[in-house]
Amino acid sequence: MKARHKRFGFIVLGLAILAVAATLVLKALEGNLSYFFSPTEVTEGKAPADHVFRLGGMVEEGSVQRARGDLTVNFVVTDHHKTIKVAYSGILPDLFEEGQGVIAQGRLGPDGTFVAEEVLAKHDENYMPPEVAHAMKAGEQARMQGTLAEQKL
């Protein structure tokens, strides 16, 4: 085999591997993306009905309820504008607390309750996940606009 042929072989082999890998990677990426939505956005129907997404905001004070007998827990996530009920079965993270930031990953149930597969809380008392901070700010703005509109009426 001549050197030229050999190099050609290497290049073809390399490109073939790359093509296969790229297809695989992009397919897998597409299937595993999950978007973040605030309670307001979910209320507005922006969140997908049939796909996993993440819901973030604050755990509303006094909203956490544990079922007796099993590990089901219900709580409400708020951005101080709209609220979404969340149901979760399992052990909550250490830093999960009422009045604190939370991100839940799961799907929206038919009754509008968000069924979480995973609940994440922050890992430091000073730290707020950027998504949650963003959602809270948007919620605040929406609420301000709401009150302004009411005043005008």
């Binding site: 072989g9 290497f10 890998a21 299937g31 993306l33 978007y35 890992h123 000073n126 963003h134």
Partner: protein, 654 residues
């Protein structure tokens, strides 16, 4: 007074780094031997200055000087002494200081161990390291000075993040940083070689032991982090594809590729340009890791309170480093010629495949890590990439790599024949297949094709590596004929096999249950049972805790009294789960307390994790392999031989 002294030592270190970054490089270009000779003493002085700064910060922690903001934010009078020391690198500012210290210590090590390398090369290497040091020190002094005062100074400190009050975390960051920063050395050697225009096999040989050393520390650092996450975070997982874990894993992947590619460059003089590029990538990814961790752009376990201003600085620094080195590469690349020929079937080809696979895997992990950032920047929404992406993609991409390990390590340089390889490898392949099948049918709870595949691959690596070792014992059947480099490779691959077997077993046969237990209730899990005795309150030095009592039994036999805790730290009021683990070579029993459900009942996590220790055992074996390879005689032998000619090649480009 002490903090001001610290400020002065930092400024001094910056000045020294600046001089180290300019004079030796300039001297090397101009052939000014007195400037070249400055490199080594400057590197040592910089290390002394930074060690002093580090000692001063440690001292401030030990005497509870809460007038120093960093001390006040990260410690407390009740914090145990060992955590007072580890708190020095427990948060951003101090970890940067540790980083800078380690960078300069690596530099000093180069100055010390490379006495046989031509002075002009050492001057360039240390000069490049000096410039990198300038970047880090500027970053620290301008955005995150650990000695900044807090006015008025508080009476009591805010304490160290409870997650970090753990023996694993005392050594995890230093190990990881040794690895991260260690890749600055092959990077500096590569840049120095490009500046000097001498990209021969010599530079590959000089940078090989350093690459091994950095890789060893990074391997250990990552393994420690994984182990820590397993027992401290209370979820019982060993890898989460968290952005910050990925940040340490990316340089590891490229570093592994670099180790293999350096072997080809040193032994055969091939892949020269490629190896230089890998050296640049490995260090760039280390810097990218810093950016990801410290900028706060990512939601992560590790993203403690952070600051965008710092991110911008590191990003600029990253662009400067990558940009300038790639520019240099673009200028020099056409001068780098690898005129060595090799056949399609040869060790070179297998190492090329190794590199290709590792690089593709790196790109895949990088894509998954950065995609949310890119999407956010492009206003595509706030996206996260799920763990299944990484699991699936990484597994599919790297399985062929594991299969190739066996062939590659037995194949010959330059050219080999398929017939010979088949003859040598059919027995190991058969052994692996038979044993894996027997294991899958007889020894596991249920059949799973992935277990069969994973076990077959793991055993294949073991069997083929043993065959390669036996081949190497010839002609006299003497183990002493095998050089250390080969032992290192064999151990590295055996470690990989142990790791693969561990992952296969853990991922297929782990049982994880979240359950509700009242005192006196027993939960049965396969052959094991867990009796919950109830929860008591206990007091630690700086926390109070609920402590559960769980008796684990295997059949009727009691095997462990497990006492998982749920701690509340007094200062930060932060709850923390301390899992109780009964560890074993073939299985871990893992119990963690969840929440108080009233009436004495608690939610508990009860896990059975087969072979999980093999994951870390495998990485330890890999690191040991790296150590043995790094101490191969020929690096020292070459050093001695090269010594007399050092002057001759010294100022070639003067």
């Amino acid at each position: 007074m002490i903090p001001e002294l610290g400020q002065i030592t930092l400024a001094l270190a910056l000045a020294l780094a600046l001089v180290q970054g300019i004079l030796p490089l300039w001297g090397a270009q101009r052939g000014v031997s007195s400037w070249i000779a400055l490199a080594r003493p400057l590197a040592r002085l910089q290390t002394v200055a930074l060690a002093l700064a580090f000692a001063l910060l440690t001292y401030s922690f030990l005497i509870h000087d809460f007038s120093v903001a960093y001390v006040a934010h990260n410690s407390n009078t009740r914090l145990p002494t060992q955590y007072l020391v580890s708190a020095v690198w427990g948060a951003h500012e101090g970890s940067l200081l540790l980083w800078a210290l380690i960078l300069s210590a690596w530099g000093s090590a180069v100055a010390y161990f490379s006495r046989s390398v031509p002075d002009v090369v050492v001057a360039r290497v240390l000069g490049v390291l000096g410039l990198v040091g300038v970047g880090f020190l500027l970053f620290m002094i301008l955005t995150s000075n650990p000695f900044d005062r807090l006015v008025p100074s508080p009476m009591e400190g805010r304490d160290l993040n409870p997650l970090l009050q753990d023996p694993g975390l005392v050594i995890h960051p230093p190990m990881l940083y040794m690895g991260y920063v260690g890749f600055a050395i092959p990077f500096a050697f590569a840049v120095a070689a490009m500046i000097g225009g001498q990209l021969d096999a010599a530079w590959a040989r000089w940078s090989r032991p350093w690459t091994h050393a950095a890789w060893i520390f990074l391997t250990l650092g990552i393994a420690l982090g994984s182990w820590w996450a397993y027992y401290e975070l209370g979820w019982g997982g060993w890898w989460f594809w968290d952005p910050v874990e990925n940040a340490s894993f990316l340089p590891w992947l490229v570093g592994t590729a670099l180790m293999h590619s350096l072997a080809v460059t040193e032994k055969r003089g091939a892949f020269k340009a490629w190896t230089v590029l890998l050296a640049i990538f490995a260090f760039s990814l280390s810097l990218l890791g810093t950016f990801l961790v410290r900028s706060g752009v990512l939601t992560s376990v590790h993203a403690f309170a952070s600051d965008p201003g710092r991110g911008v600085f590191i990003l600029m620094f990253l662009f400067a480093v990558v940009g300038s080195s790639l520019l240099l590469y673009a200028i020099r690349a056409n001068e780098i010629k690898s005129s060595v020929r090799f056949e399609m079937l040869s060790r070179e080809t297998f190492l090329l495949l190794n590199n290709a696979i590792l690089l593709v895997a790196t790109v895949a992990v990088l894509l998954g890590t950065l995609y949310p950032l890119i999407a956010d920047a492009l206003q595509l929404g706030k996206i996260s990439v799920g763990r299944p992406y990484f699991d699936t993609v990484f597994m599919i991409l790297t399985l062929p790599l594991v299969a190739l390990v066996g062939i590659g390590s037995i194949s010959r340089w330059k050219r080999d024949s398929g017939e010979r390889l088949w003859k040598r490898l059919r027995l190991p392949a058969l052994v692996a297949l038979v044993l894996a099948t027997a294991h899958s049918l007889l020894l596991v709870p249920f059949f799973n094709p992935l277990t069969l595949l994973g076990m077959a691959l793991g055993l294949w690596v073991v069997a083929s590596t043993l065959t390669a070792l036996r081949d190497r014992m010839r002609p006299h059947n003497n183990l002493r004929h095998i050089p250390r480099g080969f032992w290192g490779m064999a151990l590295g691959h055996l470690g990989l096999a142990v790791f693969v077997i561990g992952v296969t077993m853990v991922e297929t046969y782990s049982v994880e249950k979240d359950i509700r237990l009242a005192p006196g209730e027993t939960y049965a899990m396969g052959e094991y049972s867990f009796e919950f005795k109830g929860v008591d309150t206990v007091t630690g030095p700086n926390y109070t805790a609920f402590e559960g009592a769980v008796v684990a039994r295997h059949g009727e036999r009691e095997i462990a009294q497990l006492t998982p805790q749920k701690r509340t730290y007094l200062v930060q009021k932060m709850p923390m789960t301390e899992a109780a683990i009964d560890a074993g070579l073939f299985r871990d029993l893992y119990v963690a307390l969840g929440e108080d459900l009233g009436d004495g009942a608690w939610s508990l996590r009860v896990y059975h994790k087969p072979f999980i220790r093999w994951i870390w055992l495998g990485t330890l074996i890999m690191a040991l392999g790296g150590l043995i390879a790094a101490t191969d005689r020929r690096y020292r032998a070459l050093a001695r031989r090269a010594a007399p000619t050092a002057g001759a090649t010294g100022t070639a480009r003067g």
